[in-house]
């Protein structure tokens, strides 16, 4: 399978008459884009903003991030979600780089939503603080979940994915500045000099904990709670087969942007043929019941063995309950003779003294650690807030609180905030960006 991602680098974003990309300047006709968003009758209120690195902007509650893309041949960029089912991972996709569409609730947030700062001390806590962002701030008529702590955010998230495709369309007939080529043929009968290298699989554990549909990550539009682990081509993940969900404390989340650009997959691709024989991806999940966890671990180990994998990398999109899947999967792989590295974040508490994962096993002897979800973060007021900052305190965001007898409320009258890392939007970057680690103090 061969995927060509044609890159267009966005250096600036402005509003103007016609949607276009010229000399690195992305121009968006705001009214046209908003009219497109409002085609979904559930959207009651919508506005677009631009947020660039260095801007004095804080966003909250952030719900999703998507890289704007288009497929010149007319296939949808999220098959089975924004358009008809079609093969992902093959052919040509165009991408607007250094750029993302962010979806922010106009008023209401939930457990799974987060914060992004574009400048100051808070900027480094998310990957999106360094990107040029098109920010959709909107509200919906989804009354059934307005006051729910867990929100599906369906109308808003779909609006973001559609907007990413709408904006991506401006490069349909242009020539990309450069092209990344991802090509990986069948797992067997590869060149002899590749086959002599240790073979490796990447095991992904995307979020699938909700029994009710509408919250979990999707594969080609199918709920990850309803799958047993299966083999996927890495190109499918890089090309829109996976769409992020709306469930986990958000520092652990993999945004759709993270799937589209998954650094762990790209890093293994880079080593392919040099130091490893990258076989492909085993797509697992993170269901809640113990039997489901054990079943998934059995499947992953069996598939890895059947494929003849010497090594594996396991990454989890979550912490707490999912730690059992993460540790269980690594143990199953090690027991099956597959040398395994894990990538995760930790929950050591505000004082750093709690057990880092819910369950531990000595067989997990090679872990890359990306952060502490419960680290306390205090940030000064920001000139501009997109969305409604009070959501952090009021709406049960995983890292915020209405009041605390020692710390006071998460959102103070002057606009300064105190929160746990838990609510930094995709902050722990277990998908591979993370410049953070954990150390003993």
């Amino acid at each position: 399978m061969k995927l060509e991602i044609g890159n267009f680098y966005v250096k600036d974003i402005v509003f103007g008459d016609q949607l276009s990309l010229r000399d690195g300047v992305l121009t968006i006709n705001k009214e046209e884009a908003l009219a497109y968003i409002r085609e979904d009758e559930r959207i009651t209120e919508a506005e677009l903003y631009i947020a660039k690195p260095g801007d004095k902007i804080r966003m909250c509650p952030v719900k999703e991030a998507i890289e704007p893309r288009i497929r010149p041949d007319g296939r949808s960029i999220f098959p089975g979600y924004t358009g008809d089912l079609a093969k992902a991972g093959e052919g040509v996709t165009y991408a607007l780089k250094n750029c993302s569409v962010l979806v922010v609730g106009r008023h209401w947030g939930g457990f799974q939503d987060g914060v992004i700062d574009m400048s100051g001390e808070g900027q480094k806590y998310t990957y999106f603080g360094q990107l040029n962002n098109i920010v959709l701030v909107a509200d919906t008529d989804e009354e059934f979940e307005r006051n729910e702590q867990q929100k599906k955010n369906d109308a808003l998230r779909r609006a973001g994915h559609k907007l990413a495709e709408f904006i991506g369309a401006c490069v349909r007939d242009l020539t990309p500045e450069d092209t990344e080529v991802y090509e990986l043929g069948g797992m067997i009968r590869r060149d002899a000099d590749v086959e002599k290298l240790p073979s490796v699989v990447y095991v992904m554990q995307p979020q699938s904990q909700m029994e009710e549909m509408g919250y979990n990550d999707l594969v080609y539009g199918w709920d990850m709670n309803h799958v047993v682990p299966t083999v996927m081509h890495p190109n499918e993940i890089l090309d829109g087969a996976m769409v992020s969900g709306s469930f986990m404390p958000v520092s652990s989340k993999w945004a759709t942007y993270d799937f589209q650009n998954c650094p762990n997959i790209k890093a293994l691709y880079k080593e392919h043929g040099k130091t490893v024989n990258f076989l492909g991806v085993i797509m697992s999940n993170l269901n809640v019941a113990l039997e489901q966890k054990e079943r998934s671990a059995l499947f992953v180990a069996q598939i890895a063995n059947s494929l003849g994998a010497d090594g594996a990398v396991v990454a989890e999109e979550g912490y707490g309950n999912p730690d059992a899947d993460f540790v269980g999967c690594i143990v199953a792989l090690e027991d099956a003779g597959v040398k395994t590295v894990g990538i995760t974040n930790e929950c050591t508490g505000r004082d750093g003294q709690s057990q880092p994962l819910v369950t531990l096993d000595e067989k997990c002897d090679a872990i890359v650690s990306c952060g502490n979800v419960s680290q306390l973060i205090e940030l000064p007021p920001m000139e501009t807030v997109l969305g409604e900052l009070q959501a952090l305190a009021r709406d049960g965001l995983s890292g915020g609180w209405a009041d605390d007898e020692i710390l006071g409320p998460s959102v103070r009258e002057d606009g300064s905030i105190i929160m746990e890392n838990n609510s930094m939007f995709c902050g722990d970057q277990v998908c591979g960006w993370s410049p953070k680690t954990m150390k003993e103090f």
């Binding site: 480094k124 240790p198 490796v200 650094p263 762990n264 790209k266 890093a267 293994l268 880079k270 080593e271 130091t275 490893v276 010497d310 090594g311 990398v313 040398k339 590295v341 990538i343 995760t344 930790e346 050591t348 004082d351 750093g352 003294q353 880092p356 994962l357 531990l360 096993d361 000595e362 997990c364 002897d365 090679a366 872990i367 890359v368 650690s369 990306c370 952060g371 502490n372 680290q375 890392n421 970057q429 277990v430 591979g432 960006w433 993370s434 410049p435 953070k436 680690t437 954990m438 150390k439 003993e440 103090f441």
Partner: protein, 347 residues
């Protein structure tokens, strides 16, 4: 100028060797022994030196600590330092004990230094900065410098780096930190993967503590003849807690005669365990230490006989090393009485 006070033992306090190890705590104005080098290295004035014999501290711990705290009562100081203690076992325990008490009483930062092979490390590393020190006194200059470096950061309210950066024993605290080179997780993953695949050494970013599992003993063959002893980590003691067992992070244990007791009565026994709601155990201590049921079963000749004492300590926060030591101290009593099996009651 900020102020510091230094604790040393009889040897480094220049009183004498082992023959002087019994001396009582004494407070001197100015600097004696290592305190002189601290005076040079610290961003503070070392106003006093406290000297105490290691044996005196070891065998009269509570009194020694009380007297030291009293001596410090009227003094102004911003930091308290003890040692360096190198590989001297008793001295390391003394340094940890005094530092912990001073930190708790006066709320000032404390720093000490010990070699990794000493008992003081496991006992106190969670309570304070213990610098990883040398094994012999010739490392004095280097160890004092290391202590002073961290002490100066504490005095100047500068952030203290991670354990490996600063050279102290990890205190059981894990925090997130930004890597100086910004190396992303994906690249760290590839490095670790290649090393693991190629059988080369690598360093995990999340060390999993080794579990020291004890195999479950085989069943007692002849229960009718067996002598059974009862041990608890639930903190059940006579109400006056005669052995002064700590309510958490215990280092002490006691054994109590139950040869004439048919059941543990509330008001006579209680729990001093700080890790759970004591109401049920105080009302009926047998729920944690089932003397009542064992006496009934003894009378019914279900088993041979009950060892005449029960043994008690507190499990919460207690280190594995301390738990092992306490168990080893209990074992001779069981052997002496030919105990065949022990029932270990947790909470």
């Amino acid at each position: 100028m900020k102020k510091a006070i230094v604790y040393v033992n009889q040897f480094f306090g220049q009183v004498g060797g082992e023959e002087q190890a019994g001396i009582e705590p004494q407070l001197h104005e100015g600097q004696i022994g290592p305190a002189m080098q601290f005076q040079k290295e610290l961003d503070a004035d070392v106003t006093h030196t406290i000297i105490c014999g290691d044996n005196y501290m070891g065998s009269n711990t509570e009194e020694a600590v009380d007297r030291i705290l009293t001596m410090l009562g009227g003094k102004e100081f911003d930091i308290f330092l003890a040692g360096p203690a190198f590989q001297a076992g008793r001295y390391t325990v003394a340094c940890g004990t005094v530092c912990k008490a001073v930190k708790e009483k006066f709320g000032v930062p404390v720093v000490t230094s010990m070699n990794s092979e000493t008992p003081g490390v496991d006992m106190f590393k969670k309570n304070m900065y213990i610098m990883e020190g040398g094994n012999i006194a010739s490392k004095m200059r280097q160890d004092v410098k290391a202590m002073a470096r961290v002490a100066n950061k504490l005095l100047n309210r500068e952030p203290i780096g991670s354990a490996d950066e600063e050279g102290y024993f990890p205190r059981g605290i894990r925090h997130q930190t930004w890597l100086a080179d910004g190396k992303p997780a994906s690249e760290r993953m590839v490095d670790m993967l290649l090393k693991k695949l190629n059988g080369e050494p690598y360093e995990t970013e999340l060390p999993i503590p080794k579990r020291d599992l004890v195999p479950i003993a085989p069943a007692v063959k002849n229960l009718k003849q067996a002598k059974i002893a009862l041990v608890t980590t639930g903190g059940i003691v006579p109400v006056e807690n005669p052995d002064r067992i700590q309510s958490a992070s215990a280092t002490r244990w006691g054994r109590y005669d139950i040869s004439q007791t048919e059941a543990l009565k509330g008001g006579v026994y209680k729990t001093i365990h700080a890790g759970f709601d004591p109401a049920a155990a105080d009302a009926d201590p047998n729920v944690i230490t089932p003397v009542d049921a064992l006496k009934v079963l003894e009378n019914e000749e279900v088993y041979g006989s009950l060892h005449p004492y029960f043994y008690s300590t507190v499990g919460t926060g207690t280190t594995e090393a301390e738990a092992q030591r306490m168990a080893k101290e209990m074992v001779p009593y069981f052997k002496e009485d030919h105990v065949d099996a022990v029932i270990m009651v947790s909470t």
